[in-house]
C-alpha cells in the first residue's frame, strides 16, 4: 500500500513516497503537492524517494507535472534519497537534466 506523507518546515516542504510509485497513486500524489503548493511561503519541495521500491514511467510523468506547476510559482523541486533501481530509472531518463537528484 503506497503512502504519501508531507511535512513543511519554513520554506521547505518534503513529500515522501513509500512503496510503489506508479499510476495507482496519481490522484493522491497530485492532491499532496497541490496542498503543498497552496501553502504560502514554500520555496522548495523535496520529493523523498528513499522508501520507494518501484518506480515507472507514470511516476516520471507525475514528477514532470509537479515540476511544471512548481516552476510556475517559482518553487524549486529536488529529488532526494534516490537509490538502487529507482536511481537507475532516473538516470536512464537523464532526469538530472531537470532536477537536482541526491
Amino acid at each position: 500500500m503506497t503512502t504519501i506523507t508531507h511535512r513543511i518546515a519554513e520554506h521547505r516542504a518534503t513529500l515522501a513516497v513509500t512503496g510503489r510509485f506508479d499510476f495507482s497513486i496519481h490522484r493522491d500524489f497530485r492532491r499532496a503537492y497541490e496542498e503543498v503548493l497552496a501553502t504560502p511561503g514554500v520555496r522548495e519541495i523535496g520529493v523523498d524517494l528513499g522508501k520507494v521500491d518501484y518506480i515507472d514511467s507514470s511516476a516520471l510523468g507525475m514528477l514532470l507535472l509537479l515540476r511544471e506547476k512548481a516552476l510556475n510559482q517559482n518553487v524549486r523541486v529536488d529529488l532526494e534519497h534516490a537509490q538502487g533501481p529507482v536511481r537507475q530509472v532516473l538516470d536512464v531518463a537523464n532526469f538530472g537534466r531537470l532536477f537536482q537528484i541526491s
Binding site: S58, L60, L65, D91, A93, L98
Partner: protein, 579 residues
Amino acid sequence: MEAVLPAGTPAGAPALVLVADDKPENRLLLTTFLKREGYACVTAANGREAVEACRRRAPDIILMDAAMPDMDGFQATQEIRRLFPDRWIPIIFVSAYSSTENQARSLSAGADDYISKPVNLAVLAEKLRAMQRIAAMQARIAQYAAQLEASLERSRSDQEFARHLLTHMAGRMAPREELGLAYWAEAAAELSGDIVAGRRGPAGKRYLMVADAAGHGLAAAISVLPLVEAFYRLAEKGFSVASLVSELNAKARGLLPRDRFVAALIVVADESENSLQVWNGGLPEALFLDDAGEVLRRFPSRHPPLGMLSVEQLQLLPELFAWPGPGQLIIHTDGLNEAEDRTGDPFGAARLEAALGRNPPAARLDAVRAAVLAHLGAASPHDDITLAILDCPAPGSPPPLPVAGKQPSAGTPATGWRSTLRLDARQLRTLDVVPLVMNWIEQLQPLQQMRGLVFTVLAELVSNAIEHGLLGLDSGLKHTPDGFERYMEARTEALACLTEGWIEIAVECAGGADTPGLTITVTDSGPGFPYADYLDRLQGSDTLPSGRGIALVRQLTTELRYEGRGNRVVARLSCSSCP
C-alpha cells in the same frame, strides 16, 4: 438481459410478494400483514402453483412454506432458481420445523433466509426490508456491469481502429532483409507503445528508430504515431540525426501533455563509412557486439526522452562509432530487461548480454526471445518488449548503390534552366545543407529516378567543399583506426567555429527532352588544391583512401572535372532510363 426493477419501497411502486403456503389461514395472516406494510401480494397453495405464479410474473420477494403437498418448498425453490438464472429473487423459507438441520437444508436448496412458525411479524418485516436493500444493490450492480460491457466493446473497437492506423504507418517500413534488420516485438496490451521504424535514406544510409512511449496500450501507441510519421519523412529526405532529434522532440513537446514522453534511440548506419551515429534518449544502453560476441561499444542513454526538454536545452548530436569488423547493433526497450517471472525477478541486462554473447549472430534474436519467454513462464509481460538487431557488415563490402527515389510523376521535365544557391558560414553552421539543397533542386526539377544519384553526388561534393575547402581537414585521417570518430569530432568543432567563407551550388538542366542531363557545380571560397593529375591517380588506384568518396562520384557521373584553383568541381549526371 432483462431490465431489472429494484424492489419497490412503500413510498414507490409496491413490491410484489409471493406467499406460498398450503394452509389458507397462514396465507391470509401473511397477506393481511403484508398489505398493511405496503406490499402487493400474490398467493400459491403449493410448490407447483408457486412456480406457475413466478412464470406469469416475477415477484420481488417469495415467502415459501417448506412443507407443501404437490411439490414442497425445497423443490419449488430449485425450480424457481432455474427459471431466473440472471435475476436474484430473495426467498425466505417459513417453516414449522425449526431445527438447524432444516435451516441448513433450506439454505442449501437456494433459500436466502429462514423464519420459523409461529411467525414473528416484526422480525419478518425487518427481514423483508433487508432483502429489499440487497435486491436494490444487486440491480445496480447488474446495471453497472451492462454499462461496463458496452464501454469495453467501444474500447475494443477504438483499439482496432488504432491498430489499423499503426499498421499503415508501419507499412512504410522497408522490408527487414533489405535493411539488414531483425526484431522481436511483444505487446503487453492490445496495442504496443513501442515502435520500430526504419528505411534507407536517399544515399542508401540506413535510418532506424526504436521508440518507447511512456505507459502502454492505446494511449502510448497514440503518443508515438506522429513521431513515426516525422521520422519517415525526414529520413526519406536524408536529414541528419541532429535534425531528426530536433524535429521529433519539438513534435513530442508540442503534441503531448507534460507528463507524457517518448523514449527513443535513433541510428544512422553508413555502410560506405562503416559508421554508426547513435542518439539515445531514454532507452537502455544499446550494444555493439562483434561476431565473436564481444561487446565493443556501449551506447547508454545520454539524453532525456523526447518531449521533456525544449530544443534549446536538448543536445542533438549523436555519438559516433566506426565498426572495425563485422558485428551487430543490439537495441532493446526496458520492457525486456524488466520482464519479471512469477517471483518478481526481472530478466536483467546481465542475462541479456549472456544470451547474446554465447550465440552466433544469426541465432541471437531467437535465443534472447526464447530466454525471455522462458523466464516469464506463465506470467505475461507487464510492459511492451522490443529487441532490434541491426547487421553491420564487414568493412570493405561494397555499399549499396543509391536507391531509386519514389516521386509522383510531374510530366516532362523542363530543360534549359540554371539556378545558383550561395550559403555563407552562418548558414553552413546551422543548416542541414544537403537535404535543404535537394529540396530546393526538387522544387525546380522533379528528379524521379535520379533522386538517389543526385543526393549522393551532391552530398559528397558539398562535404568535400566544406571539409577540405573551408575547414581545411585532411580526410586521410578518416580511415585510420578510430580516426573516423576523431575526424568527425574535429569536423564538428571546426564547423562550429566557422565565421568566414561560403559555398556556391549551381544546378543546370540541359540536354534534349529525351536525355535530360543535370550539371552540378560546387564552388567553395577555400584555397583549392593541386588537382591536375588527381583524378588520374584516383583512376589508377582504388586504395587511395581519402578519395574513396570521389571515386564513387566518378562511377555515378558521366563527367567529373575540377576547375579554377581546385576549389570548383563540376559533375554531370544523366539518366538514360528516365521517362
